[in-house]
Symmetry: C2
Subunit: 477 residues, 2 copies
Amino acid sequence: MEKFFDPKSVVVIGASNTAFNLGATICNMLKDYLQYKGAVYTVNSKGETVNGCAGYSSVMDIPEIPELAVIIVAAKNVPRIIRDCAQKGIKRIIIESAGFSEGGKTGKEMQREIDDIAKANSIRIMGPNCLGTLDTRTKFCCFYGVNPSLVEMRQIFETPGTMSYIIQSGGIAVLVMESLYYDLVGINKVVSIGNKSDVDEADLINYFQNDETQVIGIYLENVDKGRKLMEAAQKSRKPVLIYKVGRTQEGVMAAMSHTAGMANNDLIFENACRQAGIIRLQSIDELHSLPKMFTEMPLLKGKRVAMFTNSGAFGSISADLLVEAGLQVVRLKPQTQEKLQKAGQVFNIKNPVDIGPAPPQTYLDIFEILLSADEVDGLLPLLSVWQTFVIDTLLELLKMCKHYNKPAAIYTPNAVAKSIAIRAKHRIPIFESPEQAVRALSVSNFYYESLRKRNLISSGLSEDNEGISRSETKAAS
Amino acid sequence: MEKFFDPKSVVVIGASNTAFNLGATICNMLKDYLQYKGAVYTVNSKGETVNGCAGYSSVMDIPEIPELAVIIVAAKNVPRIIRDCAQKGIKRIIIESAGFSEGGKTGKEMQREIDDIAKANSIRIMGPNCLGTLDTRTKFCCFYGVNPSLVEMRQIFETPGTMSYIIQSGGIAVLVMESLYYDLVGINKVVSIGNKSDVDEADLINYFQNDETQVIGIYLENVDKGRKLMEAAQKSRKPVLIYKVGRTQEGVMAAMSHTAGMANNDLIFENACRQAGIIRLQSIDELHSLPKMFTEMPLLKGKRVAMFTNSGAFGSISADLLVEAGLQVVRLKPQTQEKLQKAGQVFNIKNPVDIGPAPPQTYLDIFEILLSADEVDGLLPLLSVWQTFVIDTLLELLKMCKHYNKPAAIYTPNAVAKSIAIRAKHRIPIFESPEQAVRALSVSNFYYESLRKRNLISSGLSEDNEGISRSETKAAS
């Protein structure tokens, strides 16, 4: 799988100097923009060099055997090219062209032809109808048509992260990357798998077990090999987040016209996810909003949540949301309430703890009282950031969460725009709505429970820092 | 009710020159910032003038009878002051002080005392535990502690709108105003009603029937007079959007500690809402994201929706969402599909209509084909705005929607940040997620159906432009 992300040499088949040529945008990306360290060749009818990438009229003429071929030509020419690649000895191919299984009968026949050649020659194929791979560490990217001058794209490569995506749609892949850029966790790798005739989400889940990936996000339009996916997820030691379309018959039909998806029974999928510990997402936004809960916070190991607010209304709103998410509004013990009373400026010493105007130290005292309480598994701080000191108290809160090995899902009413800017700068995992924050606690606990059920962590709470994600490990120190 | 929003004279009882005095912030707001045209007096123990507002040591000494008194003193002094006001002949009082029904037994007794005095003297009371009123047209605002120098606050008064809010929490009132500022519809009036011992949401729904209000947004922590609310909503010719906490027992408990709410059975409330045509909101964000669907677009008069996308994946995602929202993915008639085929560059002529790279005219042709089709009740355009011409096509789409009297809920994947900026500038109702856009169609149709059931519009489709909101009326011209 490595060669799909870090090939010593790659050939872009279909790149030419014709105006609006899509293959050429890949050459530009690799050569000009990423200054990719490997050799980049092109193949086109004229055998012309494209943007400094040596050109040939056939794969056969290239002076070495490229480790990876990227094909972006009209569908009808693809089978012939695959045969050439096989003859040349190329073992990894990304087919970006569309017009196969999703495009009617002829397309399906071509798809079968390609599959046969690949199988007979031990070639691994990604696609067709995809964008292929992006790797922020090797600085490799064969996405076509992406504008590398965008601020977001530049940043994505400049600050590699730990989030890896497997996306069955090019458009969604780009969208999700951009959205994540405005959030906190950086990108490790992105794969747009398209019709996934060979390499699929299960292969990639397995592959992401042994690289820098901390969280795996997946967008699916169909599941061909359900058992394979569930087995990969079951074994995964990293959280697997999946948004799947086709929950309704209409969604299935729409997906079929897009990436050749097949009807899947959603209820079966839902149950299988639950068993395999897959976190099923409720909206496409969760692909970028939830990862930070796994990378920046310990897991929620029980369901008892304490709320802390300086705007009473958000306590009420979130109490509803917690219960609806299957979590509990913890009843604070008398000794905890007593401590809160002494902290001062507290309007309500029961959960939700509600405070009036108070100095930073009061915030810190309350965080500590709540996180250290036996009856509290996690915290839902709903804080106004009108006062600039709130940022500093949140940074302290982060440290306390690691110390007590309990998470906080932070929401800052009144100042979402401000807090989003603060989020990335100070690396504070701030959520954008009470719904997002509560959902983060809920999936964190779901994932923790699934790790236990799958025997991926020992059951004793005293040892539950072993073998989870990096942030968990850090939390123990 | 008018005097609460446009008093000829007002007295702020409790405003003084002491540091951090909350009443003084109201004087500053009215005098310095809003340059309110009416007389503003203050009452405080020293009888001192506050920020140019003449001061007296008792209400009795004021040279005229103020049309409105705003009280912001410690709770225990409020009953005495109310008695003074009654004696002076003041008929409208806003009690901003907290510490009444929400604050235990003594508070409840004081509340009863106040109620008795008010009743005996025909005084209307707003609050206690509230911020009172804000009117962008009369430039009146008695919210305490709000920083008028904020960009958002300035804009809110400079560009009056048609959205009016009734909010049972000061914090939420400010938050919602700010959020709406970043959306499209401007503010008409905002009322923070707090414990609503007298004036409540039903009174205000009735009042908003005869002013510039086009949409009414409500945040409730409890419902004291359910029948009164439902009757007001039932008669309302303007959409009533309600977010209510207390859906769970825990939410009810949290709300009680905040604004003295009482336990309400949520299921009963839900059913009553449905009957009265109240649009029940699913998140606090909908208070600002949904109004534009009512002010800028005709209502959705049937459930059959056509999707139009230039990123196939969003068709699949939205097909699921439409069905889950109780709407239909319309099957396009053969003649409609034929027209689409002729429009060119169409990948999929079935719903979701999916196009490739195309010039602006193709977008316009497709909009027209879909909106003019008999089988289509409304449109869900899911458009990338990478191409700048998309803005212009959307402006044309707006005109077409009015012409065909059918709505479109616009979502622009890949460029939410850009499109949010465009939204306010060009007044294009763009939604921020496919969930939001589909939800907008769903509530639009719910509201249309409720108008019919309540006999507030004639049932014939040909006349359904009569007597609805302004945008509906405009749509007919």
